[in-house]
């Protein structure tokens, strides 16, 4: 896998309104959001739970059509899901019946790539995310962090213009999460696709992003466009530096201002309330 052939990935969000839910429960999740994301930029959508950041991600992925407004990637309007816009969920969506290697190679199979070729590419991709040697495992035989790495590899093998991530490390323990953030930056340094990363964790957003789009609670609106110029590669020491802490304080104030009085339920990029309980839990 080389980064050279990854396409540009300019994202244009123009006056987008999105409604989710059915019947009487229908509500406006996103209100008049506009933004342009440059090719290769790492953008975090930061906001309180239920503020519509995952909804916006769902619109970029093509799973949630906007009620008004348009989303374009490299000038082409988004009208449905496409491998060019890879989506990583908070809870992995690996196929439990496929071995790791086949999960990663899946997108190539759909493109009609030969078996030998897609295996070779999938092996290389697994090496990139540090999972060489785990090809023959089933997803259930991996830890939560490993499952997310496979999920990322499965999306990146399609060489997407945009990598869309919905709180991908939200279900991991703190240590694993920090390692995954580091790993993601390393992979991104080689792959250089545009990344739109949803999180409600200020530290995570500040550590990862070139730019943070801060959102308010329902209906979601953009309340601040915050560019970050911390040098790359970034080290874990960054999070205790004075400029980092100052920006964190600023973000905290923004989030408090944008917060709803009542905590809102999380909405997934598919438009449904996030399920809870054992069925969705990722163990070990």
């Amino acid at each position: 896998m080389t980064g050279a052939s990854i396409a540009a990935g300019r994202v244009e969000i123009e006056r987008v309104h999105i409604e989710v839910g059915a019947g009487a429960d229908r509500f406006e999740a996103l209100h008049d959001v506009s933004a342009t994301i440059e090719p290769g930029q790492f953008v975090c959508l930061l906001g309180p739970s239920g503020c519509g950041k995952s909804t916006l991600l769902g619109a970029l992925a093509g799973h949630l059509p906007p009620a008004r407004g348009t989303v374009r990637v490299d000038g082409v309007p988004v009208d449905g899901p496409h491998p060019d816009r890879g989506l990583v969920f908070q809870q992995h969506t690996l196929f439990p019946w496929q071995r790791v290697i086949d999960n990663v190679a899946y997108g190539l199979k759909m493109k009609g790539v030969t078996r030998a070729e897609r295996r070779a590419q999938a092996e290389a991709m697994l090496g990139q995310v540090g999972l060489a040697g785990f090809e023959r495992r089933y997803p259930a035989q991996l830890s939560g962090g490993m499952q997310q790495r496979v999920e990322i590899a499965r999306v990146l093998i399609n060489r997407p213009r945009v990598l869309l991530m919905d709180e991908p490390f939200g279900a991991l323990d703190a240590l694993t999460r920090a390692r995954m953030q580091q790993l993601l930056l390393e992979v991104w340094a080689r792959v250089r696709t545009t990344v739109v990363f949803v999180t409600h964790d200020i530290d995570e957003a500040l550590f990862l992003a070139d730019r943070i789009l801060v959102m308010s609670a329902r209906p979601g609106r953009l309340i601040e466009d915050l560019p970050l110029d911390f040098a790359r590669p970034r080290s874990p020491a960054l999070v205790t530096s004075a400029p980092f802490v100052a920006l964190k304080r600023h973000c905290l104030e923004l989030l408090h201002r944008g917060e709803a009085e009542v905590p809102l339920p999380r909405v997934t990029p598919l438009g449904a309330p996030a399920e809870t309980g054992a069925a969705m839990a990722v163990s070990t």
Binding site: H63, H82, P83, L87, T93, F95, W97, Q98, N158, T284
Partner: protein, 288 residues
């Protein structure tokens, strides 16, 4: 004997409840052996009790063992059946009827179930009449089956087909509806087309539920077959059982019952083995 499988039983009945869980490697052998010993003792105790009741022609008020054959009489009837050379013929006919009815039911049940589970339009078109027929026990189809099929053979296969169809159909629908919609969304994002979605996602995701339907369907196949054979058969293990009663060969009744039990158990075990082989990942998930 015409127990109707309720929808709840079809949906949730575990098919492996009767098998001991696969034991671990270390120390498992001894536990395994003692489990087998306990099962053997349980069967032996049951046979002894049966012998005691039958040999003494016990009368227990509501139930009497006056004409019930002893285990030894059953053994003798079994020996005669084997020596007479008819066993193979009875078994062969029954096995063919079950196999034909079951395979037809599997094909129709899985095919229809996938379409009904996935497409609301197909569901609206097909589910109402199927729902109406579902509570009708397969045995109640016998008169109509005789009228519909000129060959008695085909009418018996049809009865086993009807018996297996609904468990397979309902479990397939249930499995398709239960597919995690996030998996479908992820597959679409990865470039999966409409037809590929079936092959790559819907079928494998619904497979555990389909396998449950097949195992339950196999069981219903056997009890439907036996009732069909009792009424319109010439050969077959169900026919043999009924014939033994009319000819007052009471030991043969027991032989027929045991043969049906063993065949039903064996074919269900076969389904479970096939399902396990087809779904190696479920073992991984269970062992977590």
């Amino acid at each position: 004997m015409n127990a109707v499988i309720s929808p709840a039983a079809v949906d949730s009945a575990g098919i492996d409840t009767d098998t001991p869980p696969a034991s671990g490697r270390a120390g498992g052998a001894r536990r395994h052996a003692s489990a087998w010993l306990a099962q053997g003792l349980s069967v032996a105790g049951f046979v002894l009790l049966w012998h005691a009741l039958a040999a003494t022609h016990a009368r227990l008020g509501l139930v009497t063992f006056e004409n019930v054959p002893t285990p030894l009489a059953a053994l003798e009837a079994g020996r005669e059946l084997v020596a007479g050379g008819k066993l193979g013929r009875h078994l062969g006919y029954s096995l063919w009827r079950v196999a034909a009815g079951f395979l037809a039911a599997a094909a129709a049940g899985i095919g229809l179930g996938l379409l009904i589970g996935r497409f609301a339009s197909v569901r609206r078109a097909l589910l109402p009449p199927l729902e109406l027929m579902r509570p009708v026990p397969a045995v109640a189809w016998i008169p109509l089956a005789i009228l519909m099929f000129p060959s008695g053979e085909l009418s018996m296969v049809f009865i086993t087909f009807v018996g297996a169809l609904f468990p397979v159909l309902l479990n397939t629908i249930h499995g398709v509806e239960g597919v995690d919609r996030r998996l479908i969304a992820a597959a679409r994002s990865l470039g999966t087309g409409r037809w590929q979605m079936f092959v790559q996602v819907i079928v494998p995701a619904a497979l555990p539920s389909i396998a449950t339907g097949l195992a339950i369907g196999m069981g219903t196949c056997w009890f439907c077959l036996v009732s069909a054979e009792m009424i319109s058969g010439q050969f077959g293990i169900g026919y043999y059982t009924w014939e033994s009663y009319t000819l007052q060969n009471y030991g043969g009744i027991i032989v027929g019952m045991l043969a049906i039990g063993l065949l039903g158990m064996g074919s269900s075990a076969l389904i479970r083995l096939a399902a396990r082989a087809a779904m190696p990942w479920t073992a991984m998930e269970a062992s977590r």
